[in-house]
């Protein structure tokens, strides 16, 4: 059984992570995604890496290979009038167009929903922009770090005992990943709307707002209690912390009372555990400076895997701090068939994260490795748009494709 979006036609003009991740989510469950890249240079993710043996090569960037498997790749110069008119021909037959040009780039290219809707009034066009399509900062320049900060996530993380160190961003381009996943949701909303009324629409996603939407309870501390949540302040409840074992790190997580009691028992009921200042999770948080070293002393003598198993058996939700090697060899993930091996003609064979969700009837599926730059030009321009070989050659010579 093919994926749930089989038959859905998506055009992605994506750079780096956000729009490519949104289109990847759709491609992996059956949508046909045609990825449009700039001739010669391609998606900047091709230059980001990581690369085998650390040698940059446009067909060997790990980030690009991960985000663009299952897609068809064509090149097209959108800055040329002929490029834009070819895009219109592609759009005429598409269900979704998803891109992540900032507003000033959209203006420069003349990429505009009203224009494309005249070509295809069933088109859902999704624009992922750093700060949204309007508002005073719409044309502000941004990167992932800037947006993780602008959305309020970065400020929260850091070392409480080291106020001299700055707020710390999470690994990877998480603001863009979240924008991509949220864009995929909003886009599917519009696609479902179209099943009801037959019309397309414009979906706009702000990366800053996406980050501001996932701040757990921390945002509410301001409107509810007039408190600033900071990397230096105490957490609302404890224990929730990374601690060092004798052979690695473990995340100590026991916030329910029964979990705490089970942990105390596991530690051999030390006397200090009966202290009034540790008697509930709010007090354990308020007195974390005193509690943490006591826990660390005991945890420091344990081995990660043994402590993890003992904790799980007592329904205490600890977890190891996984290294990349740990993840790739995890028995549980193997049993679920999570990682998938992709062979790419230039880059070789690596294991990539697989399905983020398992569908019982219409499974996630790997069909194709990421495209080489312009790999499917002939198939799309000649096969689909019915250009002649001579026309394609001429467009190539003119730098349009």
């Amino acid at each position: 059984m093919p994926g749930p979006l089989t038959g859905l036609k998506v055009i992605e003009i994506g750079e780096m992570v956000s729009a490519p991740y949104a289109a990847k989510l759709m491609a992996d469950v059956g949508a046909e995604v045609i990825k449009v890249e700039q001739p010669e240079v391609g998606d900047p993710a091709r230059r980001r890496g990581p690369f085998p043996r650390n040698e940059p090569h446009p067909e060997k960037s790990g980030l690009f290979l991960y985000l663009n498997a299952n897609k068809l790749g064509i090149t097209l110069n959108l800055a040329s009038p002929r490029g834009m008119s070819l895009l219109e021909r592609l759009v005429a037959d598409a269900d979704v167009l998803i891109h992540n040009f900032p507003p000033f780039e959209m203006d420069r290219l003349g990429l505009d929903f009203e224009r494309l809707r005249r070509v295809n009034n069933r088109l859902v066009m999704t624009s992922i922009t750093p700060f949204g399509m309007d508002g005073p900062n719409r044309n502000y320049r941004a990167t992932n770090l800037v947006l993780w900060s602008a959305g309020g996530a970065c400020y929260l993380n850091g070392a409480p005992q080291r106020p001299d160190l700055p707020p710390l961003a999470a690994f990877g381009q998480q603001a863009y990943y979240q924008a991509g996943a949220h864009a995929a949701v909003a886009t599917m909303g519009a696609v479902l709307g179209r099943l009801a009324h037959g019309e397309g629409q414009h979906v706009e996603v702000s990366v800053q707002e996406t980050v501001a939407s996932i701040l757990e309870m921390t945002f509410a501390f301001w409107p509810y209690a007039g408190m600033i949540t900071t990397r230096l302040g105490q957490k609302p409840i404890q224990p929730l912390d990374v601690m060092e074992c004798r052979d690695g790190y473990i995340y100590v997580c026991c916030v329910e009372e029964h979990q705490w009691q089970a942990f105390v028992e596991l530690m051999g009921k030390p006397e200090w555990a009966t202290e009034e200042i540790f008697s509930d999770r709010l007090k354990r948080a308020a007195n974390w400076d005193a509690l943490r070293p006591l826990l660390q002393e005991w945890v420091g003598q344990q081995s990660v895997q043994e402590l993890y198993r003992k904790a799980l058996d007592r329904k205490i939700p600890f977890a190891p701090v996984s290294t990349m090697g740990d993840l790739l060899s995890a028995e549980h993930l193997k049993a679920r068939g999570f990682f998938v091996e992709i062979h790419h003609p230039e880059a070789g064979t690596y294991r990539y994260p697989g399905a983020p969700a398992k569908y019982s009837r219409t499974p996630w599926e790997l069909r194709l490795p990421a495209p080489l730059l312009g790999q499917h030009n002939r198939e799309i321009y000649v096969g689909r748009l019915k250009l002649s070989e001579a026309e394609l050659k001429e467009l190539e010579d003119a730098g349009v494709v």
Binding site: P136, A150, F171, V185, V203, F221, V321
Partner: protein, 413 residues
């Protein structure tokens, strides 16, 4: 102006805490009728967590719960009571989607596993979010979102240079699972509208989070080494960091003094812009900083120079000066600065609806807009059990006397 695209879709929402509720929040944003099944015997974890409005505890006063349950309804059922399960079955029969985030076995214990549920409603889309998923050797074990962050590799990759692994502060695996689950539900609904077929979706927090550490997993395979933690630095941009600004004039929001700004320079043109903004044009030609490679080599010195400059201003002032020169920068916003952000406020991002117990409070809104099928947060988060009577007598066809009886026998509570 159309109606929201999921108008007419009903979600029986057995989920709690954050991952599941974040999934159903998306469906509510898109216009679905989301009915949360709660119980006063064991209220949602987030109802029990701070912040409580004006620091007064109350099950309806938590900003955490009220943030992620906007636009939903709440009924209270005791699923350990056979009549409570019977009410749930009637609701499932009238629902299009069922969401839960219990560990494997809990819904089965209630007699509401997928095999049972599909007998009640054959074309239902059922989504289960859990730490380890519904299959595999660890599936019987419970897990919490915060623990899934290190488990998925984020902590090994996140940290100051030379320092220990760190968390991401927020329980990132939760909303991440929620948004991926929402996408899966929508994809399955699309399939259902075309074929009439429902299905079961098994989403593990671990796997959906590991999907976002791919760069680290590939670096490990391609280089043969575990990636090093590198603070806020970037392999292809310099300067790239979060810089200290002038302190608040006096402590605010419970004693906070420090303020920060994020700055990222992608290319030499932006570097020259940064030098102009700092009034240090001579640095643009300084061979230590003229190219990306040289800036990277002298990054510590570079950070010191920038930091000296940023500390003379507020983050908003630095942002304005840098953006004027085309340099990516923004306040590293605290919750207060976010709430007061002129741009977000101009866009109408925040939601301020009257809540019966906590009044008008600011909540994060919908981070996307649909041009035709306008979506908005239609109601504040529900009080515990606020809609029990209405749902049971309206949708489910119980009489008022039935509801009284169900309450007396402890099935509704």
């Amino acid at each position: 102006m159309g109606t929201p695209p999921l108008r007419g879709v009903r979600v029986a929402d057995f989920s709690w805490v954050w991952a599941g509720p974040y999934c159903t929040l998306q469906l509510a944003h898109l216009g679905a009728e989301v009915i949360r099944i709660e119980t006063s015997l064991r209220p949602c974890v987030t109802r029990m967590l701070p912040p409580w409005a004006d620091n007064q505890f109350g099950l309806n006063r938590s900003g955490y719960f009220n943030q992620y349950n906007q636009g939903k309804r709440s009924i209270t059922l005791n699923l350990k009571h056979p009549q409570g399960v019977e009410v749930a079955r009637r609701l499932i029969a009238k629902s299009d989607v069922l969401a839960h985030n219990f560990v494997r076995g809990v819904m089965e214990k209630f007699g509401l596993g997928y095999e049972e549920v599909r007998k009640i409603k054959p074309d239902i889309v059922m989504v289960a979010l859990s730490g380890y998923g519904m299959t595999g050797p660890l599936s019987p074990y419970i897990s919490y979102g915060p623990a899934q962050v290190p488990l998925a590799g984020f902590s090994a990759l996140t940290g100051y240079e030379g320092g220990p692994p760190m968390h991401t502060a927020i329980s990132y695996a939760d909303p991440n699972a929620g948004i991926h689950a929402a996408f899966a539900v929508l994809a399955a609904l699309y399939h259902r509208r075309r074929t009439g077929e429902g299905q079961f979706i098994d989403l593990s927090l671990w796997e959906s989070a590991t999907a976002l550490t791919a760069e680290g997993l590939l670096e490990y395979q391609m280089s043969g080494r575990e990636p090093a933690r590198r603070g806020n630095r970037d392999p292809w941009m310099a300067p790239h960091g979060v810089f200290r600004c002038k302190d608040w004039p006096e402590p605010v929001g419970g004693g906070v003094v420090d303020r920060w700004v994020a700055i990222a320079v992608e290319n030499d043109a932006q570097w020259r812009g940064l030098c102009r903004a700092m009034g240090r044009n001579e640095l643009a030609d300084d061979p230590r900083f003229a190219s990306f490679e040289s800036r990277k080599r002298h990054e510590a010195e570079l950070d010191r120079i920038i930091s000296e400059w940023t500390q003379r201003f507020s983050p908003q002032e630095v942002t304005e000066m840098l953006q004027k020169e085309g340099v990516p920068a923004y306040t590293c916003a605290s919750n207060k600065e976010l709430a007061e952000d002129p741009h977000l406020n101009a866009r109408g991002y925040f939601v301020e609806l009257e809540h019966p117990e906590v009044g008008v409070r600011m909540h994060a809104g919908i981070p996307w807009r649909l041009s035709r099928d306008t979506c908005r947060v239609e109601s504040p988060a529900p009080l515990l059990g606020q809609h029990t009577e209405e749902v049971l007598t309206g949708l489910l066809g119980y009489s008022k006397a039935d509801v009284v009886k169900l309450r007396e026998m402890g099935a509704v509570q």
